[in-house]
Amino acid sequence: MTTRLIASTRESTGKTSIALALARLARERGASVGYMKPKGTRLQSNVGKTLDADPMLARELLELDGELHDLEPIVYSPTFVESAIRGRETAEDLRDRLETAHEALTTDTTELFVEGADSIWTGGVVDLTDPDIADLFDADVTLLATYEQARDIDDVIAAADAFGDRFDGVIFNGVPDGRYDDVESDVASFLERRGIPVRGVLPRLPELAGVSVEELADELGASLLVEPATDGQARVIERFLVGAMSGETALSHFRRTKDAAVITGGDRADLQTAALDAPGVKAIVLTGGYEPSGAVLGKAAERGIPVLLVNADTLTTVERAESVVRSGRVRDEATVDRMQALLTEHADVDAILD
């Protein structure tokens, strides 16, 4: 029975989709797999009740039988942390809880995939950092990292150090086009020379980096006044611009972005038409519940730019929208499928799973 911890240098490295993709790849190789996320950190409510989608997705995709409280034994909410500080949660109790869960999940499995937290140091408050958990479960550790600038390597080296002998290698995910060659050659050789195996370099795929208009509308509770065009082209939103300036400067501002949605008041026809004219704007979100003029909707429909309407104010909407993109897009099987394909093509899966 092998336990494999998938750890990460920071949030949004694609940890969940990679963990599930690896689990499936292992299953294809004949293993019987399980999944656990010891510290649930993505929450729907912040009072301790969790509907963390990750273990639920895992259970569905891997056809697991485990109970949710075993799949995610600890909910690492702010309330939880406060309790720990006040001494109401002890490290021993929590270790016991984790061990019990671990036992329950590994009765029929040959490989347990454990998903780490957004940072390997999360959980220090109760002596349950990812390195602590690796020790507790006697796990091998595969680290996930991104590479946007040279100093990101520092985090990889520090993490490798922290996991010691358990460290099995690093996978770089979401590497931008411009950096891909650097990472594959220079960075990889540098790390190998230091005894840090590089198991894979996965390129950044736009559809994995952003959110579709439909998903955004769902998350924001928005109604679609103009639906996305059905021409088969995937439209992915990666960033948001707020429209609150004058009409003339707006166009200049909106033109500089790519794959963006503009968030502005429903009464700002000048900003709406400027947004429709900027090539990188892929959707418009109108706030305050104000419906825009028919002429603007007509223009939007003509240009194939979807228009969403929410009742919330602009600030709230911006915050929610950005968190949707930031928190990553593991909501469905399609993402895990794509990740599986990426791993097969750009990573040494055999080395990872041995």
Binding site: L225, V226, K258, P279, S293, A295, K299, A301
Partner: protein
């Protein structure tokens, strides 16, 4: 409106061909599709309005056998005789079918009055898309949809649902607001204003202002073209067409959405992006179109341009019997582009002969309050005979001895005899009605306020300069490297933003705009070797599309000696990372140090206007552009002459000619740069915005020291 009423469409590219409007205004047979006797319906209004039409009118409506005594047919195809124009007033769902019918039956001119298209949201936009497709398939000339209709007075054709037909005359009027047309026509009746053709443009799905401004150029019945527009659909084409039209026929346009508040309203009304005001000013000016700022000006200008001969130059004489108003008129001239005429000695002597001793014989001529008609008209005559006088304003207050009607006749005769423009300011109320009408019937405008008279004469003078222009084609440069530019622009596809900076300065070189020696390097070693290849100290700048104000964060080092280059490189990169850790750092630019004191800092730039396409911009640098906003724009491509005009347009122009002991800058080099920039942005529609700040102009040339641009990757 809600999620259930949505529609999905693809991007629609508007056509650039000009359509032939001649079939719209002189048909022999008009079919009214949707004609009916039903009270309160549009179909009824249209067919009733067409009662006065001198040609044939045929109602078409599948649910009627006859309409107001005329035989009614179920469809266009069923009409036995050939139809020249179809006017469509059926519910929106049927319009496209009717257009197909028209196309199938060889009817190419159609006016769609029906509303419920792109002005009404997503589903309507879909319908308009279909309308365009059918129109393209059958090559139809379609006005509207959402149009009041069209009129043409010579044959009393009123194919609209408005309450009145226009009074006959020689003004042709197109409007993006149907409501404005009905208001104007009602008002015009009292105003001695007459129209030739009137068009309610509606949504401009197929035909737009460019088509009509082209058509009316060759229409002998049109003396002046008037327009109310909220946007111009094909800016460049409009400029090219209007420029030709204005060589023979004046064009006056109110383009609203001029202010920020107005722009919002316009966007809401028609979904048009309002476009930059500076672009409109430039575009309309380059087209020779006279811009009116409001309704009053629109028709004041129309009147003078319709009824008066063009002046020979900008000199004006004032003849008055009221000293005070005479001074007011003089002030108004001082404020305007016109000049007070200086009389010849012969004129002064002549005036002394006909006026009393205490009268003023210089300009403004004051014939004194006790002037009778003989004295007044004699003075007018003497003044207009003066070769130094190109135009005149007659300002008069009512007195017991002055016969106002007679004065009106005298003014008209003076204009006719001397063939010079004369404008009347017969001040008063009731007493001016009769003379006002006499003047109006003869095409001489009359105002209470001398300032309005002066404003109108200024418009006339502006048109004179338009007529005197000679067209110069845009400057072209063959020594350019398009492939190099394309390669540089394509690097933007690897980025997360659409911006490029100094690392793209190669594209200026590629188009023959001088840049300092240097390179963008990625290591301190390369920085040193680059610095060594440049004579003297260097300038080093951090290169990152995410850092816009480099100097603010210590991202620029001026005058770095070779031995400090290595450390300077490290320092720049460190500062940049501290300031914005997630900024993408492309490298450091190491550049020849150019002494900015040796020249004058200017700015050249370009901006893609949504309506006119690329605009070229020029200004003097520093406070002139940043605080005073003293810049000028032209719609590209520009001619060498236009580039020269730009240099003189800015208020700070004297600095270019040399001020405070400096030598004048090399104007040819500056014009060259503007022309080359104009070609660059015309050749590459992907360039959305570009700034060269500063372009250092000196007596020996011009050099670009910095560059920022925004690119549209979809247009590469």
């Amino acid at each position: 409106m809600g999620a259930s009423q949505t529609l999905t469409l693809d991007r629609f590219e508007s056509p650039t061909v000009t359509r032939d409007a001649s079939g719209l205004f002189d048909p022999d047979r008009i079919a009214v599709v949707g004609a009916t006797e039903r009270d309160g319906s549009i179909g009824r209004a249209v067919i009733q309005n067409l009662e006065t039409f001198e040609g044939d009118v045929v109602p078409v409506n599948p649910s009627r056998d006859e309409v107001f005594g005329r035989a009614c047919y179920p469809a266009l195809g069923a009409v036995p005789d050939p139809v020249d124009l179809a006017v469509v007033a059926v519910p929106p769902a049927y319009v496209v079918d009717v257009l197909e019918d028209a196309g199938e039956n060889g009817i190419t001119d159609v006016v769609v009055i029906t509303a419920g298209f792109s002005e009404a949201g997503g589903e309507g936009a879909g319908r308009e898309q279909e309308l365009r497709t059918v129109a393209a398939t059958y090559d139809l000339n379609v006005v509207g949809p959402n149009s009041l209709g069209i009129m043409s007075t010579p044959r009393s054709m009123n194919a609209t649902f408005g309450p009145d037909i226009a009074p006959g005359g020689s003004l042709s009027f197109m409007s993006q607001s149907g409501a404005f047309i009905t208001a104007v026509l009602d008002w015009a009746a009292d105003q001695e204003l007459g129209f030739k053709d009137v068009v309610s443009l509606g949504n401009k799905a197929v035909m737009d202002e460019t088509d009509f401004v082209t058509h009316w150029a060759d229409d002998p019945g049109t003396n002046v073209v008037l327009g109310y527009l909220e946007g111009i659909s094909k800016g460049r084409a409009f400029i090219d067409s209007a420029r030709e039209t204005t060589q023979s026929t004046p064009v006056v346009v109110v383009k609203s959405g001029r202010t920020a508040a107005g722009a919002q309203a316009a966007s809401s009304h028609t979904g048009t992006i309002a476009g930059s005001e500076a672009a409109y000013e430039a575009g309309l000016e380059q087209a020779g179109v006279i811009r009116a700022n409001n309704v009053q000006q629109l028709f004041d200008y129309a009147r003078v341009l319709d009824g008066l001969p063009l002046p020979a130059d900008d000199t004006v004489a004032i003849i008055t019997n009221a000293g005070g108003p005479g001074v007011m008129a003089t002030d108004a001239i001082g404020d305007s582009r016109l000049r007070m005429a200086q009389f010849t000695d012969a004129t002064i002597d002549g005036l002394r002969d006909v006026l009393p001793d205490n009268a003023n014989v210089y300009n403004p001529v004051d014939a004194i309050g006790d002037a009778d008609l003989d004295r007044f008209s004699a003075a007018i005559d003497v003044v207009l005979a003066d070769e130094n006088v190109s135009a005149a304003i007659v300002v008069s207050a009512p007195t017991a001895i002055l016969d106002y009607d007679g004065l009106a006749d005298a003014i008209v005769s003076a204009r006719d005899e001397h063939q010079k423009p004369v404008v009347a300011c017969l001040m008063g109320g009731d007493r001016t009605r009769s003379p006002g009408r006499r003047l109006g019937d003869a095409g001489v405008p009359n105002y209470f306020d001398p300032a309005r008279a002066v404003d109108a004469l200024s418009a006339l003078d502006r048109y004179r300069t338009v007529r005197e222009r000679e067209y110069e084609p845009p400057a072209t440069f063959d020594d350019v490297d398009r492939d190099r530019v394309r390669a540089i622009l394509e690097t933007v596809t690897e980025r997360e933003t659409n911006r490029l900076g100094v690392e793209a300065m190669g594209l200026l070189d590629a188009y023959g705009i001088d840049t300092p020696a240097g390179a963008v390097v990625e290591t301190p070693e390369d920085a040193v070797s680059t610095a060594q290849s440049i004579t003297g100290d260097v300038v080093m700048k951090i290169v990152s599309p995410d850092i816009t104000h480099k100097s603010d964060i210590g991202g620029v080092k001026v005058g770095v000696p070779n031995e400090d280059v290595y450390d300077a490189y490290e320092d720049l990169v460190t500062r940049a990372r501290n300031y914005q850790p997630d900024a993408t750092i492309i490298g450091v630019q190491v550049q020849e140090l150019v002494d900015t004191e040796s020249g004058t800092e200017t700015i050249i730039g370009a901006n893609r206007d949504p309506q006119f396409g690329p605009l070229v911009l020029f200004g003097l640098g520093g406070v002139f552009v940043e605080i005073l906003e003293d810049t000028t724009v032209r719609v590209a491509p520009i001619s060498n002459r236009e580039a020269g005009e730009m240099l003189d347009d800015v208020q700070a122009a004297p600095l270019l000619r040399g001020a405070r002991g400096r030598d004048p800058v090399d104007r040819d080099a500056l014009r060259d740069c503007l022309g080359r920039l104009s070609q660059l942005v015309t050749d590459f529609p992907a360039i959305l915005e570009l700034d060269v700040n500063p372009l250092l102009a000196s007596p020996t040339g011009a050099m670009a020291l910095d560059l920022r641009l925004t690119v549209d990757p979809d247009q590469l």
